[in-house]
Each structure stands twice: as C-alpha cells, then as structure tokens.
Symmetry: C2
Subunit: 436 residues, 2 copies
Amino acid sequence: MKNDSEKKLSTESYKGVRDFYPEDMAIQNYIFSVMGKVAKKFGYQEYGASVLEPSELYHAKSGEEIVNEQTYTFLDRGDRSVTLRPEMTPTVARMVANKRRELIFPVRWYSIPNLFRYEKPQRGRLREHWQLNVDIFGVESIQAEVEIISVASEIMRAYGVKDSQFEIRINNRKIVNYILETLMGLSTETAGKVAKAIDRKEKVSHEVFGKMITDIVGEKDNFLLTLLSSKNLEEFVERLPEDGKLHDGIVEIKTLIQALEKLGISNVVFDQTLMRGFDYYTGIVFEVFDLNPDNRRSLFGGGRYDDLLQIFGEEKVPTVGFGMGDVTIRDVLETYGLIPSQKNSICLCICTVGNEHIDYAQELAQKLRAKEVSVIVDYSGKKVGDQIKRADKRGIPFIVCVGDDEVKTGEFKLKNLKTGEEKIVTEENLTSLLKN
Amino acid sequence: MKNDSEKKLSTESYKGVRDFYPEDMAIQNYIFSVMGKVAKKFGYQEYGASVLEPSELYHAKSGEEIVNEQTYTFLDRGDRSVTLRPEMTPTVARMVANKRRELIFPVRWYSIPNLFRYEKPQRGRLREHWQLNVDIFGVESIQAEVEIISVASEIMRAYGVKDSQFEIRINNRKIVNYILETLMGLSTETAGKVAKAIDRKEKVSHEVFGKMITDIVGEKDNFLLTLLSSKNLEEFVERLPEDGKLHDGIVEIKTLIQALEKLGISNVVFDQTLMRGFDYYTGIVFEVFDLNPDNRRSLFGGGRYDDLLQIFGEEKVPTVGFGMGDVTIRDVLETYGLIPSQKNSICLCICTVGNEHIDYAQELAQKLRAKEVSVIVDYSGKKVGDQIKRADKRGIPFIVCVGDDEVKTGEFKLKNLKTGEEKIVTEENLTSLLKN
C-alpha cells in the first residue's frame, strides 16, 4: 500500500465547479462586462458581499428543505452554522435592511455573485455558477417592472440576441392568488400545492397534469383547467367573472405590456401558467424564454417581492428584480454563435538575438508599457526563428527583434505576423503604430 | 420565550467578512482595475477558479497544521473533504499541471481571487480577503524575477505610491540554505526552525532574538548572528568564506539588483533576514515594504517556487510569482490619500411633472441609453422640487424636467446641479452635451 506522501494529487477541480483558463475567463469577462454596462446605463450601481452567510438567512423564506438538502452548510469552529449562498436575494435584502435609514430610495443595485447549490452536476446545472442580480428597491408602481424588464431585454439585445429569438413571459401573483384563494376558496396551503403543480405543467403530459390538478382541487378542476388553457390575455380575462376583469393584477399586466410596447419591447406575452419557484414573489413575475425550436426553455426570470425585508423586522420595501445565470447565457450565446472572438491582449513580442540584449529589450518593453501597449519579451535564449514561431502560436499580432544592429541604430523591423508585412520603425513611431 | 419565527434576523454579515456597498465596491473595483491593467500590459492573462477545492490540495505543501486549524474545511454530502481556498498558489499550480501539455510556456497568468482563513478578525486580517496573484511559469533565468518584481513595482507606482515611500526587499533561499546547511551543517529540520526564528526577528527584542538563535544552533550562534546583522550586501558578502562570495545565490541577487536598476527600479535592498512564510520557495524571495515612519510594515511579497508541480506527479516547472492583498493595499492608499474620488456613474436624472409624462420620460431615457449615457427617470410622482433635491443628494450632475411644455416643444432645460447653470437643449444636442 502506498502511503499518503507517495500518492499523486489530482489536478482536477472539485466536482461540479469550473476552472477558468484564460480563454474561458475572457468569455466570462465578456459576458459580465455586457451585464455591467447595461445595468450602469440604467443607473444601477454595483455592490458585493461574501459568499459565506449565516445559515439563518435562508431559513425564513426559502423553507428549511433548501437549507438542509440543497446548500453547502457547515459549522464553523465557533459552532456557528454558515452557508455558501445559494442565491443573492436574501443577501441584498439584508444589506438594504441594514442601511435602510441612510440609503436614498429608490435604490438601484446590481451584482454578479457566485452561488452554490449542492446538486448532481449536469449540463447547465453546476454546483457553482455566477448570476447577475438586478434589483430596484422602493418603487410601488408598475414603473419598476417596466424598468427591470427593460434592463433584461436590453441585456439580451446587447448580446446580439434578436427579439424574435426570445420572449418575455409575464404573470401576476395577485391574479394567481385571486383565482385560487378568492374565486376557488382554497386555503393558502392548498393554493401553494396547486401553484407547484402548475409550475410543472410543461414537464408532464396533458393528462398527467389534469390528474395532478384534480387530485388537489377536486371538482373545481374544470374551471381552473379551462382558465389555464386560455390562449391569450383576452381569452383569459373573458373567462373571469365580471369583477375579476377589472382586478388589480389584470390592470397591472395590461399597463405593463402597453408601457413596454411603447419602448419598443414587443416580445412580451401573458402566461397564466408562469409561477416562478421562490415563495417571496408578491406581484408581477416574468421569465425570459428561449424560442429556439431545438431547445425551447426558460433562461432566467424575476419579479416583484415586496415583503422580504420583513424577515429582518423592517417595514416592507417594494422591490422588483431578476437573476440571470452565466451558464445558461453562455450556452445561449454559443448556440446562436454570438460569442465574439477574443482579441489577443498581447500586442507585441520583443524577440532577443543573444542574451546580451535582454536588458535593452526589457527597457524597450517598459517604454511601450508606459504608453499602455501590452508587450512581452522573449528572453528564452532560443533561436529567433523559434521565438517568432512561438509568438505566432500565441496569436500575438506583432514582433520586433532586438540584436546588435537594432541596438546600434535604434531602428527596428516591425513584423505583422498575420499579414507578413514588415516595416522599419524607430522607437518613437513604434508606439503610435502599435496603438492603431 | 420567543419561538424562531418571531425572532428578527440579524442584518449583519458573517463575522470577519465584508459587505461591499456601492461606495466600497467602487473602491474595490478601482483597486482591482489597476492591478489588472498593469498585469495585462506585461502580457499576463486572467484566469479564475472556484473558491471550493478538495482539501488534499493543501496537505502536500502547506503542512497539516494550516489545513486543520486555519482553514474552512468541511465534509460535503458525499463525505468528501472540501476547503475554501486559503491561498491561490496550489490552485494555479493544479491548473498548470492539468494542461501542461497544451500550454505555451512561459505561461503568464494573473487572477484576483477571494481567499478564506479562519482567524480572529482584526485590523488588516479578515477571514475573507481578495488577493492579486501574478505568476510566470517556465522561466529558469533570473529574468522572471526581474519581470515579476517590475510588475509589483509598476502596480505600486500606478496607484501613485512614490518609490521613496516603499522599498523592495530581496533575499535568496539558496543563500539561506547555503549558510544554514552547507556552512553550519544544520539538518533541514533545524534549518527550518532557524528560518522561522529569523522570520520573527522584527517582532522580538534584540536579546530575545539572540537567545532564540542560541537555543537552536548552540555555539555556532555568533557566526550566524554576525552575518544576520550585516548592514548591506557588501558587508554580508565580505563575511562569507571565499567560495561563498561567488555562490549562485549571491550572483543572482547582484544580477537582479542591477537589472532592476537599469529599468529605473532603484528602491531594492538586499535583506538577509527576509524569509517569507511558505515552504515552497526555492530561490529569490521578495517583499514590498511600506516605509511610512508611522507604520513600517511588510505589504506583500512573493518569490520563486520551482518544485510545486511535483505534488501532482509532474516534472518541475520553474515559477516566480507574488500575491497582493486588497485589505493591505486599500489601507496603504487611504493612508497616503491615494484613493481617487469616485465619479458618479449616473449622468442624468429625468424628473417628471405629472404621471402622464412618465412614458415619454422612459422613452427619452431609452434614447439616451442607446448613446451610452447613464440615465434614471424619477417616476415617484413627488413634487419636482423634491425630485431635484433627491437627484442632487445622489450626486447626479445633470437633470431635465419633462412636463407639458417639454413634450409639446421637444425642448428641455438642462440643469447642471453643481454650477446651477441652465441651458435650453433639443433632444438631439442633449446627448452630445452629456457625453462631454
């Protein structure tokens, strides 16, 4: 038997998390930079927090199940239970609650945190992923939804996804509650079960779904199933009783669709079966849906959650927000061929003919860097031909060689490795040429 | 007794970690952006990895003590021991080992990961901090040290720290080993103890230090204490036996100092007492030291570690790198008054006179955002005067109001809230004015 010190350590990452080699990191940075750029244009400011949170934070609203079974939760050495955050919303609610008296509302914030879930790793579902979170705190009116959905839509467009390739599905928890509790007279608990069943609608057959509903609501199933099968908002409203046709929730949906339409956002549809998982939503919920016929699926979503700050003993703060995961978005961009090719960040390689010129090459590099040009020096001592080949393999666009002649004359032959073009340049015009 | 559901949740973060509210996040982003910008100019590419690593990764070189007592280590649900990374070097070594055959050497990489240590939180020592890691893999020659120390020096300068305000202390593990093992004939174990004692030199009195050394090395203490008290490289070398004067380690130190001098980096001093904590260093080690008379201290450092890839059963890869923590750097920049005031990221607030013009204001905002102007709309329905006050409180530089007149004429009064200056503008020249 081998003992520990003889065993080779694995070079693999922990299961279900990713290593980001430079090519992947560049794509990740591209994805994040678009998110950040759009959020900033809408006046959102970046915030951040630790991935480590007291576990209590997730007890109140997510339900014990998530904390115990789907999170990384452990005791620290002081016997305090800590959790690697599975979502950002409780954290941002905590931060707003903590400085509630100092903040100027409405608060517009975004963050791109990493989140952990203990799941069996599979395509698109990793144990760690990053998620853009965009939230506006302190707005009761539907303008908050107009704005938040505009941000979501603008990010998709900024990636180059066409409006015809995705749709924004919206629903309203107020309508769901009105139907299940007011009209059907179900208890909150039973209503919750129905909502969970509706959430699974797309995953089961028509028959199985019908049976799931009947099993929960009994004879009232027909009314509900008819409502749920409505083809559009008009049909749905038509099937409501008279006072329901003017229900707050319906008015909000109509106002929202119209306002977005005015802003040129027309790929919005009402979807009475849209539920969204989290318990804390209280009003409009929405989901961005990929219309790719080969892979129709929900990409991300969000909604209004007005009550969350109450878990901190604070008054309600009306809030609307969404979360957008990096894994899904990267997958969409790859499917649609929308990831831009990453430019090589190194502009020039200075090859050295003989070790005696390395100091000179380093000084030249330093001067170019002072002008914001990204430069490396090849001080390997290898043949110049090999140095050039290696620069080319790295995808570096330009090289110059430094040898006796160059040091004497102060003139260099700048070679474009893509085109093969060569040009004699002085130190001074080297910078200006490389900057273009 | 209250039951759980009645208890208020705390709004505090977990102990020893930080929340980054937008003002702090902006400073953090500034600190990171300077790091990244300088690293890229030197041709370094960004990589990343998960904060969660298999615990075995830290057994091999850091010593069991660190893994067990100073890290966050726990079992996942599959009974696998995982650790929140306490440093990045094992991770980057793992990643290089994993793709060794595909990578083009030398590999120049940087990352700004968060790291966790289980410590009693105190000033400058938190449980979570971020640390720039810059490493070059695959260079045996001292040019790697020249480059890495240039990067470190350039980052300090890019922050605006003057060369007179910090110094770069260098030593060489090869010299330490030559003295302790070759000259004094100490075992590796005893030599390790001496190195640890020397590392504590600044923290104890002259007498206590002398006694610590005598206790470990006995009668050879005088030779060692004399060497350690050398005032500079010349005196130190003078005290070595003839063959020691030409020792590799000494030649490297001299070459390094000269090469850095040629690049205009003159705040470099030899320090024979510099040890650096980690066991994996094999050659040059360095430390950037704050010369502020009120707070002289080590800021960060690094060195050469040629053997680390061996823990993965791979051949050696000569490597030089350093790590630079965000907490220390922020503290230095604050002390020297070098944190630039953060510009407000929102350029314009559109105030609305009456709710009927909100849609118009949203459309105007959308047009400006399409031109990359950061805009918010105040749709609070409050009095315009209050809207303007709130925009000013937020530090937004410009406002326009949208009411009946503006909608009719398409002309707006653009007001600079800093100067009070007002200007009548059309929609078209609003963009160009705001972009300047």
